[in-house]
């Protein structure tokens, strides 16, 4: 008999899975008894199937042992199997549960921490913003109080800077307080300066035009301007952006005597 050919035929695989007829089975058993190689092949295949079955092993519920023992021996008294897990250590499934629980807790703690950190950052940011706003608010309040105080002061002079031929509709009012040496400018009407141009304020002192600065017009807020005691008149000209050293008299828009 050609043993290799017999093994290769697949009949042994059929036999170990219980798929052969009784006759075929007996033939395989006889061949196995005669040839150790065939016997070994059978054993290896059986072992494979056992291992395959073992790979699916699952612990039965704890109460099953008693039921099984009682069904084999009905006279046997039921014994309560302790449900307390083995004292040898934590059962592996519980270990898994604990590990999972620990990991979850750790991850959540991490998330809380991270979350807390980012919340803290946000809070700090908001605090800074809040402080800035508060500061701006105080500054605004102070300057408004100053302006209101100046306006209420009976010593404050109202100087009307009226439009020239260039800009007859224009009107600017200056508040001039010689006691406190304070001055403010309220632009009531001035045409929007063309692009790259700005209005510049001049004081006429002894026939000379002295710059008091360029006007940064933003809406209708009251501007604080320098107080110049010797100023005889206040004049506003249109100048190139950034202002000029000498006024462009042709572009004198408003003027008023102090």
């Amino acid at each position: 008999m050609d043993i290799q050919k017999y093994i290769a035929s697949g009949i042994i695989e059929q036999y170990v899975l219980g798929l052969t007829s009784e006759e075929e089975g007996t033939a395989v058993e006889q061949a196995a008894a005669q040839y150790p190689e065939i016997q070994q092949h059978i054993e290896e295949l059986r072992n494979s199937i056992e291992q395959y079955a073992l790979a699916h092993a699952i612990t039965p519920p704890s109460g099953l042992k008693n039921k099984v023992l009682q069904s084999v021996d009905p006279s046997r008294a039921p014994v309560e199997t302790p449900t307390i897990p083995s004292k040898k250590g934590i059962p592996f499934w519980l270990g898994g549960v604990l590990t999972a629980a620990f990991l979850t807790a750790a991850i959540m703690a991490g998330m809380f921490y991270w979350n807390n950190q980012s919340q803290q950052e946000k809070l700090d940011q908001l605090k800074t913003e809040m402080a800035t706003l508060q500061e701006n608010c105080d500054l605004l309040k102070n300057s408004n109080q100053q302006i209101i105080a100046a306006l209420k002061d009976p010593n404050t002079k109202h100087i009307h800077l009226r439009g020239t031929a260039v800009s007859p509709e224009s009107l600017v009012v200056a508040f001039w307080n010689e006691n406190d040496e304070e001055a403010y400018l309220n632009v009531i009407n001035l045409p929007n300066p063309p692009e790259k141009h700005q209005y510049q304020l001049w004081a006429d002192i002894d026939g000379k035009m002295v710059s008091m600065g360029v006007l940064d017009l933003k809406g209708d807020e009251v501007l604080s301007i320098p107080f110049m005691a010797q100023a005889e008149s206040l004049n506003i000209t249109l100048e190139p952006e950034g202002g000029s050293e000498h006024p462009n008299v042709e572009q004198l828009h408003v003027s008023g005597e102090v």
Partner: protein, 197 residues
């Protein structure tokens, strides 16, 4: 090979008790093999309740047939597996089972392995991976025959493949398992290599 010897000794001890009609054998068998038998039964019947009934029936049959066990026809484990497997397959074919069984995926059954030693557990994780590595077209043939009790003809009809193909797949499947389980190291290396090829 101290390990093998002790396993053989233990098996022989159980066989002696069985042949002597000592009911202690059943308890030892239960402690030794219950998780493996229960796993197979549960895979077949897919219901913990039915699986427990099947286990009781199987152990009764083990006890009743104790004197028939013949070592020459395979190991004690193979014999026990076949009894449990046949009882489970019988259960799936009963009218009661067909009426009452809910369709349930095996994946939903929690796998716990407390009774087995730590060593075998670790081994099993490896085994499951190796088994998982077996081409599904071979695995399904083995599972239908071994866990569902299908005949090869039924497998052929079920998968719509010729009987000859079923037989050759049975052969290849078992050889692959043999490679995996009897030469675990070689199997592992092949498996690892297959990851990089």
């Amino acid at each position: 090979m101290y390990e093998d010897l002790s396993v053989n000794n233990k098996e022989q001890h159980i066989i002696n008790l069985l042949h002597a009609g000592d009911k202690k054998a059943i308890e030892i068998i239960y402690d030794q093999y219950a998780p493996a038998l229960y796993g197979v039964v549960l895979k077949i019947v897919q219901s913990e309740e039915i699986a427990q009934d099947v286990m009781q029936d199987a152990f009764v049959k083990v006890w009743q047939n104790a004197s028939h066990y013949n070592k020459a026809k395979g190991s004690l484990f193979t014999w026990l597996l076949n009894i449990a497997r046949n009882k489970a397959i019988d259960a799936t074919r009963s009218k009661h089972f067909k009426n009452g069984q809910k369709i349930q995926s095996l994946d939903h059954i929690v796998h716990t392995n407390r009774k087995l030693s730590e060593e075998t557990q670790i081994q099993h994780i490896g085994l499951k991976r190796l088994v998982g590595n077996l081409d599904s077209k071979y695995r399904i043939v083995i599972d239908l025959i071994y866990f569902k009790g299908y005949t090869q003809k039924e497998v052929g009809e079920y998968l719509d493949i010729p009987l000859g193909t079923v037989k050759s797949r049975v052969k290849i499947a078992l050889r692959e398992l043999r490679k995996v389980f009897n030469h675990t190291k070689v199997g592992l290396i092949t498996f690892l290599l297959s990851l990089f090829s």
